[in-house]
């Protein structure tokens, strides 16, 4: 394991700190959105601050939940379903 590997290993222990940094950054971004907005909103709604944050979060959650919990159970089969493997 080389230097970079060892570095990454150490960061695992600092997981909590990294997570706090992430939350902080996200909050800062939303704050910034209050002041900086699009010159030409695409959908009208996206002129509102926090729109894109909400968009990312909601769409992401919906996508994962719908696909993983609702769609996949219907369409999933054994790996060897077609007899290829």
């Amino acid at each position: 394991m080389n230097g970079l590997g060892a570095f990454l290993e150490r960061q695992r222990e600092l997981r909590g700190a990294w997570l706090k940094a992430l939350y902080g950054a996200l909050a800062a971004l939303v704050l910034l959105n209050l002041f900086v907005g699009p010159h030409e909103p695409h959908f009208g709604l996206d002129a509102y601050p926090g729109f894109w944050a909400l968009f990312g979060l909601v769409v992401g959650v919906l996508m994962v939940v719908i696909m993983k919990r609702m769609v996949q159970p219907v369409i999933v089969r054994r790996e060897d379903h077609y007899g290829d493997v």
Partner: protein, 594 residues
């Protein structure tokens, strides 16, 4: 006075393919990047215009149509070929290199083709080259996948062939030009469009991609992800710009691809579905048809080749080192393969559109262009796809491959990754970052004139991207237990064409073969025996009847002369029989004609 210069970049690769089987010694691997270097050189020194006309079968073919559109694609193809050849240098199986060389030549040939006939020839060359890149993986799974891939692409090629032949009949020319969108476009334009869409993996014609690409060789899939689909994007941009159906199709592709990517387990299959999604951006941009979106599509194609190649290289390294690409079997590898992880993340962030990387400068152009053209649904769809992209390829894949919530796996044996694989990846990573930081090096080559150039590096654009990506990442983090990949096959539209294939075999071909055999038997039983029956009957008739008559008459004659004895042999009977038959036929004909 401008000197005209054109070296077809395919030449080096064709030469490599021809020469490779005969090289001896240990050093031949070093020869592999040579045609790529030549291609890069050729692309940067060639002048625009029509070069290399050829007369064949009484037609005039144009092999070297160089203008800004073909040049930009050729450029990225050349760069990618260099990275790909570097990445593949360690492979000892020459067949793979030959297949890759033929495949890349096909790509260049298609891009520079000025007429449909040339395009078709190189299109088929690409098809066979890529088929072998799948077959040469040499597992049962890959051989079967290669067969399906080949049939599918041959069918697509035949659609193209039918279209271009009908077009020739209607217009009298093979020239490959733009076709204006019209509600009542002639059949041949739809056929050609269908042929192109097969290669572009437009939903629902896309199923070959996630079927074949994960089963290709480690280095082969790297090549494949770049050329087939982007050549299709090029020909769509050339021929079908502004066709609205493409805008809708592209948006569907973009979302469809990421939805499947969210639930797949095999890393390379996730990336394959991703190709469908990203190409959807390009197809949508072509469909909208404004100069901005067309430029966006081209820019996206350029950037996509770079970061998708890098993504496949990263996944390929995982496959090479750990022996599997299945995410549920990986994890805890970040500390052991740190550079692979870093280089992968460069690509992952590029594809997601993170500022500093080249996805940021290309993706947003298309979306903005769509919005400006008031195609709100398209823009919305593409933004949704952006969220999905980041979640599946940007986070899910590397998270479960390199961490997965597991501690560092020290026990797992990892094959050492050769330096050339790192070299290939580094080339692409550097370019991703360079383009992201200095977008003009890409924008300079974009072919269409826009009224106001797109400026990606504005505060708002950066902020919007960061917001979108940051909160998508949060969504992932919150749902990381839900999105855990499990082993399984997700059904896709290929159930339809597999059913057609096996159905045809089972219900058409085998029964026909059976019937043909039975009928042959019937011939033997009925026909041959019948014929033998007639023959025996004739023998009987011959002996009893004719014989009898002749004998009788001969005895009578004998009474007169003694000639009877001489007439009593078989040859006379034969002669009589034949003559009678002959005479009957002649008589019949004469009567008929008279």
């Amino acid at each position: 006075m401008e000197t005209s210069s054109f070296i077809h970049p395919a030449i080096g690769f064709l030469a490599l393919a021809a020469v490779l089987p005969f090289l001896r010694g240990k050093w031949w691997n070093w020869l592999l990047p040579a045609p790529a270097v030549l291609a890069v050189f050729a692309v940067f020194t060639m002048t625009t215009g029509d070069h290399l006309t050829l007369h064949w079968l009484g037609q005039t073919l144009l092999l070297g149509r160089v203008d800004k559109l073909s040049l930009v694609f050729a450029q990225v193809f050349a760069v990618m070929s260099l990275a790909g050849m570097l990445y593949a240098m360690h492979v000892e199986d020459r067949g793979q290199h030959i297949a890759a060389a033929l495949y890349v030549s096909g790509g260049f040939g298609c891009v520079f083709a000025g007429d449909y006939l040339t395009l078709f020839v190189f299109w088929e060359l690409m098809s066979i080259g890529s088929t072998f890149l799948v077959l040469l993986n040499r597992t049962r799974e890959s051989v079967l996948a290669g067969f399906r891939y080949f049939l599918y692409h041959t069918a697509g090629g035949l659609l193209l062939l039918a279209g271009l032949l009908l077009r020739y009949k209607a217009l009298g020319t093979w020239e490959f030009t733009a076709m204006a969108p019209a509600a009542n476009a002639p059949l041949y334009e739809w056929l050609i469009l269908a042929g192109f869409c097969v290669n572009a993996a437009v939903v629902p014609l896309h199923a070959w991609l996630p079927d074949a690409y994960p089963r290709g060789t480690v280095t082969g899939s790297v090549f494949m992800c770049a050329y087939t689909t982007k050549t299709a994007v090029y020909v769509l941009a050339r021929g079908f710009a502004g066709w609205e159906i493409l805008a809708a199709a592209g948006t569907v592709m973009a979302v469809y691809g990421v939805l499947y990517a969210c639930i797949e387990n095999n890393a390379r299959r996730i990336l394959s579905y991703h190709i469908v999604s990203q190409v959807g951006y390009m197809v949508a941009g072509i469909g909208v048809g404004t100069a901005m979106t067309l430029n966006g599509a081209v820019a996206h194609a350029y950037a996509h080749i770079l970061y998708k190649g890098l993504l496949f290289m990263g996944a390929g390294c995982l496959l090479y080192a750990a022996g599997t690409a299945k995410l549920d079997k990986l994890g805890g590898l970040a500390a052991r393969l740190p550079w692979v992880m870093v280089l992968y993340m460069v690509a992952a962030l590029s594809i997601s559109g993170m500022p500093v990387f080249n996805g940021f400068i290309s993706k947003t152009m298309t979306i903005n262009g769509a919005a400006e053209a008031h195609q709100t649904l398209v823009a919305l769809g593409l933004e949704i796809a952006a969220v999905g992209t980041f979640i599946s390829v940007g986070i899910k894949l590397p998270y479960f491959a390199f961490w997965g919530g597991k501690p560092t796996d020290h026990d797992r044996p990892l094959a050492p990754i050769p330096w050339n694989m790192y070299a290939g990846m580094t080339v692409l990573a550097v370019l991703c970052i360079l383009q992201g930081v200095a977008p003009s090096i890409l924008y300079a080559y974009l072919p269409f004139e826009v009224e106001h150039p797109y400026v990606p590096w504005t505060v708002w654009h950066v902020l919007q991207s960061l917001l979108l990506l940051g909160f998508s990442g949060l969504a992932f983090y919150l749902l990381r237990k839900v999105i855990t990949p499990h082993e399984g096959l997700n059904l896709d539209v290929d159930i339809a064409y597999r059913a057609v294939g096996t159905g045809a075999l089972r219900f058409v071909c085998r029964p026909l073969a059976f019937l043909d055999d039975r009928w042959t038997e019937a011939y033997r039983v009925g026909g041959l025996r019948g014929l033998m029956g007639i023959a025996l009957g004739s023998v009987w008739f011959d002996r009893k009847a004719i014989d009898g008559v002749v004998d009788g008459s001969a005895r009578t004659v004998r009474g007169i002369g003694g000639l009877g004895a001489r007439t009593q042999n078989g040859s006379l009977q034969d002669y009589l029989g034949l003559a009678a038959f002959f005479a009957l036929c002649v008589f019949g004909l004469v009567w008929y004609l008279g």
